[in-house]
């Protein structure tokens, strides 16, 4: 694999790499793919909210991502374990019973970087999303939902213990 300079992960070279790469990637694993790579679209690095992902506090991450602060809402739902089986793989499912949801963000407050994942939700896509995140230690996990331009959130404490069985 080609690599951009480590010390400058956002070097301009990556754009060139990107431009030519969409069709060329190996390992189309699903059988009926063949040459349909153009159907797959091409994720654009330019839209990545890098600043939001570089913040180390809840307030700063929210500011960088949304520019505003959320109100707690019981309409935002999050399912995460009380005690993580393994901090490296913590299943987190989010959902929101709110209209016109455009963005859902998941933050792990005591991780080195606060923002864990964020999703842009086009019209017609459900707000229910499951994924797996890493938690560096016991932390509050916060889900923030942008609905009709306003922010709503809920949170849950997830305990991360050291695994006993090396």
């Amino acid at each position: 694999m080609k690599h951009a300079d480590q010390s400058k992960p956002r070097s301009p070279r990556r754009r060139e790499v990107l431009a030519g790469a969409a069709a060329g990637t190996a390992a189309m694993l699903i059988p009926p793919v063949a040459s349909a790579a153009s159907d797959a679209g091409a994720a654009q690095a330019s839209i990545y909210p890098a600043r939001a992902f570089a913040q180390t506090s809840e307030a700063a991450a929210l500011q960088a991502m949304f520019g505003k602060t959320p109100a707690h809402s019981s309409e935002v739902r999050m399912s995460a374990p009380d005690i993580a089986e393994n901090g490296a793989v913590v299943p987190v499912a989010v959902d929101a019973n709110l209209p016109d949801v455009t963005t859902i963000a998941i933050m792990a407050i005591d991780n080195p970087f606060t923002m864990a994942a964020a999703y842009k939700i086009p019209a017609g896509t459900s707000t229910a999303i499951s994924s797996r995140i890493k938690l560096a230690k016991t932390t509050k996990v916060v889900t923030v939902v942008e609905s009709a331009g306003k922010l709503y959130s809920t949170s849950k404490q997830v305990k991360v213990t050291l695994g006993g069985c090396g």
Partner: protein, 278 residues
């Protein structure tokens, strides 16, 4: 039966040995499975292949979520490709095994009367490679774990059947494995049984200790802690290190015999591998 044992004992065992000392895998199996069934009456025998997940609702829920799209899926696909690939001489793994290697994992480890040694599925795969002019694979992780994942997957649901034949070397191997399993070792003075029999189902810091019954059924497995696949022997090495004992070599007699004994104690349970664990 008793008379047959006595006769055999007189023939093969060292002078002075008593007939009652002869390994008796069938009685051991009954006692071993009976111990768990009695101690955890709510857990049916076949459920033991789920390891720790019968003992913690929360861990079970997380596991279920993870199993929606199991993390060993990549290894499984890769293992299938490796298994089906032709060797440079045109042959493939299928030719080394009965039924082309499909649906046979439940019969391993197996005693090989020719060499008088126990052969795990991983060691059998390596034998196949050597017989076809290829080098051995590392038995703990990587391509070997992927191949074993695929072969084990073709046995999913089949009943584990590791019957110890009435052969003195097979019985000796079984007995050595049994002794290894129950012997305390390492600076922490733990046996395999300390954690996986006596303390089975209890919490050790963050995790539930899996019962020894059914524990082999899910190997090879993807451990979140490893972030990749590992075989049973990888876990043996990890457990040894954890109790501060110098581990054996992956293909050592000690680990072959241990795998033999331990797997035979799960006779009758279904294969549930490859698996996923924390």
């Amino acid at each position: 039966m008793k008379f047959a044992y006595l006769a055999l004992a007189l023939l093969v065992m060292t002078p002075g040995a008593l007939a009652s000392n002869k390994p008796d895998p069938a009685s051991d199996l009954k006692a071993f499975q009976g111990y768990f069934l009695k101690r955890f009456p709510k857990i049916p025998l076949a459920a033991y292949v789920n390891g720790p997940y019968d003992f913690s609702k929360s861990e079970r829920a997380q596991w279920k979520q993870i199993m929606e799209f199991p993390p060993y899926q990549f290894a499984l696909d890769h293992g299938r490709k490796l298994f089906e690939a032709k060797f440079p001489n045109g042959k493939s793994y299928a030719a080394c095994f009965p039924h082309g290697g499909i649906g046979i994992a439940q019969n391993y480890p197996m005693f090989d009367p020719k060499t008088g040694r126990v052969v795990t599925l991983g060691i059998a795969v390596n034998r196949c490679r050597v017989a076809n002019g290829l080098g051995k694979l590392k038995l703990t992780t990587g391509p070997m774990a992927d191949i074993l994942a695929y072969m084990t997957d073709t046995s999913r649901g089949k009943t584990i059947d590791v019957t110890v034949p009435d052969n003195p070397k097979a019985l000796a191997a079984y007995q050595a494995g049994k002794q290894y399993f129950y012997s305390r070792r390492g600076q922490l003075n733990f046996s395999c049984a300390s954690c996986h029999v006596q303390a089975a189902g209890m919490h050790l810091r963050g995790n539930v200790l899996a019962p020894a019954l059914g524990i082999t059924a899910s190997f090879p497995l993807y451990r979140s802690k490893w972030g990749n696949m590992g075989t049973l022997v990888r876990r043996f090495i990890g457990c040894n290190k954890k109790v501060r004992s110098v581990p054996d070599k992956p293909d050592s007699a000690a680990y072959r015999d241990l795998a033999y004994f331990l797997t035979s104690m799960s006779d009758g349970l279904p294969i549930a591998g490859p698996g996923a664990r924390p």
